[in-house]
């Protein structure tokens, strides 16, 4: 594929530079291609499996989409394609885990966490099996594929399951760090990935621990608690707000369960205002989780920013992010409204 063809393909997917038009005729620009990582899922798992015989990988007819075919190439005897049968795949992974394996099963988030919710709850979390369900293409990153392929409810659903670790990958290096600590975490886990073209946030593979969020930028006037695809946009929004003379702390809240309660308490006490940002329905996601902590603290200006409680329009992902104010200018605008409330 030539560079031109690659660019055209990315423009078609709506994840890179290129003009698209919304029905309100507003022109928006996509995410810059520079630094966009493809999935490293299969490659990183293959590397981990080189030294850990417990690791096996399965998918449901999406080995190329989620790059688990990179794992298959190196460990064909430890790779299983279950076809388009996600529930069987997730439950079978629980069976494998009961025999001492650590299965990573990957498919689109809508079919991993939502179609497979009962299997995750009953067969993975309840018997505390070390199954890692990886939901790729989460949120509305499937763009014009429509709501059947969007996953704007998965964090809320997974967060409600006891004994289930829930984590969001931020970019390629973050995903590597997350997978490395995922192997030995007790019990079952849901790992939420974006489209695989999420912009770069980390300069190197971060040293992560479940329950410990990562502060990416310091600030005194406001804290943005962001997750997944919205972390880069939140950092860019913080940069824009700096021009206004406002300093904003940005925290990558990648660990949804367990949640970093101390980071939320510190943000409330030290910056006096909190904005949560997520590519998820406002009902049940990161904002809801943070609200559950803040309700026990002295009241501060607080806003949840995400997708309002409705099914979203179709469109290229970058256009959707702009439309729902989940790009940097949109987040900066919402932050300014919140700061005005702070006075």
């Amino acid at each position: 594929m030539t560079t031109e063809m690659q660019n055209e393909a990315e423009i078609f997917r709506g994840t890179t530079l290129g003009e698209t038009r919304l029905k309100d005729r507003r022109s928006v620009r996509g995410t810059p291609k520079t630094g966009m990582p493809a999935f490293v899922l299969g490659e990183e798992l293959a590397a981990l499996a080189d030294t850990d015989p417990r690791i096996v990988v399965a998918t449901a007819d999406l080995a190329s989409a989620n790059r688990t075919n990179d794992f298959r190439a190196r460990h064909p005897d430890r790779f299983f394609n279950f076809g388009i049968a996600e529930r069987n795949m997730i439950t079978a992974a629980a069976g494998m885990a009961s025999s001492g394996l650590v299965p990573f099963v990957a498919t689109f988030a809508s079919f991993a966490a939502i179609l497979g919710a009962e299997q995750i709850k009953t067969d993975c979390a309840y018997p505390r099996q070390k199954v890692r369900v990886v939901g790729t293409h989460s949120g509305m990153s499937m763009g014009f594929y429509g709501s059947s392929h969007h996953s704007l409810e998965d964090l809320g659903m997974m967060r409600a399951v006891a004994d289930l670790t829930v984590a969001c990958a931020t970019d390629a290096d973050h995903l590597r760090g997350l997978l490395r600590i995922a192997v030995d975490q007790p019990g079952a886990m849901y790992i939420r990935l974006g489209r695989g073209r999420d912009p770069k946030v980390y300069d190197a593979v971060p040293d992560l621990a479940f329950g410990r969020a990562v502060t990416l930028r310091e600030g005194r006037d406001l804290t943005i608690l962001a997750t997944g695809s919205t972390v880069r946009a939140s950092l860019d929004a913080a940069e824009a707000l700096a021009a206004d003379g406002v300093t904003v702390r940005v925290v990558d809240m990648w660990t949804i369960a367990p949640l970093d309660v101390a980071a939320i308490e510190a943000a409330a006490g030290e910056t006096g205002a909190i904005l949560t940002v997520e590519e998820h329905n406002l009902t049940g996601g990161l904002g809801s989780a943070v609200a559950e902590v803040l309700v026990d603290l002295p009241r501060i200006p607080f806003k949840r920013h995400g997708v309002p409680d409705r099914f979203v329009e179709v469109g290229p992902p970058a256009a959707l992010y702009a439309h729902y104010q989940l790009d940097a200018p949109g987040i900066a605008g919402v932050a300014r409204e919140l700061l005005a409330r702070k006075g």
């Binding site: 529930r87 067969d123 309840y126």
Partner: protein
Amino acid sequence: MTERLHPDPRANTGAETIADRAKFIRTETLRLTRIAGAGHYSSTFSCAEILAALYYRILAIDPSDPDWEGRDRFVMSKGHAAIGLYPVLADLGYFDPAELETYTRLGSRYGDHPDMKKVRGLDFSAGSLGHGLSVAIGIALAARVKALTHRTYVLLGDGELSEGQVWEAASAAAHFGLQGLVAIVDRNGLCIDGHTEDVMAIEPVHERFAAFGWDVTRIDGHDIPALIETLEALPPPGKGRPQAIIADTIKGRGVRRMEMSLDWHVGNLVGEDYDDVMAELEAGLQPYVPYEPEPAQ
């Protein structure tokens, strides 16, 4: 045959002993149900001979070493019949039978549906129907990855065959060539709301499994010699066709008023009724005659 790494005192248990243990499963089910105040009598009675044949003769297991990696696995997909499995596990020495006095009481390890994190000797949790065959596939695939040669048995109810996940799993078992996977269907004919063929038909169930690529045997699930013969004639674990045994059974078998009755899926016998049914069970299985209740006076 899988080489049994542990000495197994149960090998070659005779049909008479297995019949006695099936009776034990039924009487214990009666007794434990009285503790709970409600229990799944008839689904348990239909699989009593199957459970007894597996646990007292067929399965390569070691109650003194429940985590023995080379053991055969048993997945109880019809988890509502766990009341019949707990007494067997206790009887084999996995735990003290006295623990069963706590059955279903607050904080007990033993609930109506079985929890692998609480019950010693249980290979997987169950309760939500239609999952067990998938669990067994995972266990069988893990055996392949780890180069183990044990078998994986799973006991399915017939009603749960309406769950689509069972057929996802049926496809996968054949696709992966899991010859060491043995699915036994307790074909007792009834689900909660009626006969399976009235609620959601599953026949010809043996042809359905065969069409999915399984080797299928259909037998009388209360016929202990037939169970033994079928289970001992299975091909060795390895790459090949998965094995299905359709065990035609009578729901509620052993208690005349329960046999093929829709009224005893869940029930609780007390007082004289309890004593009468206990005596009936103690007398052992009688030839099956369809039950006709006496007309009301």
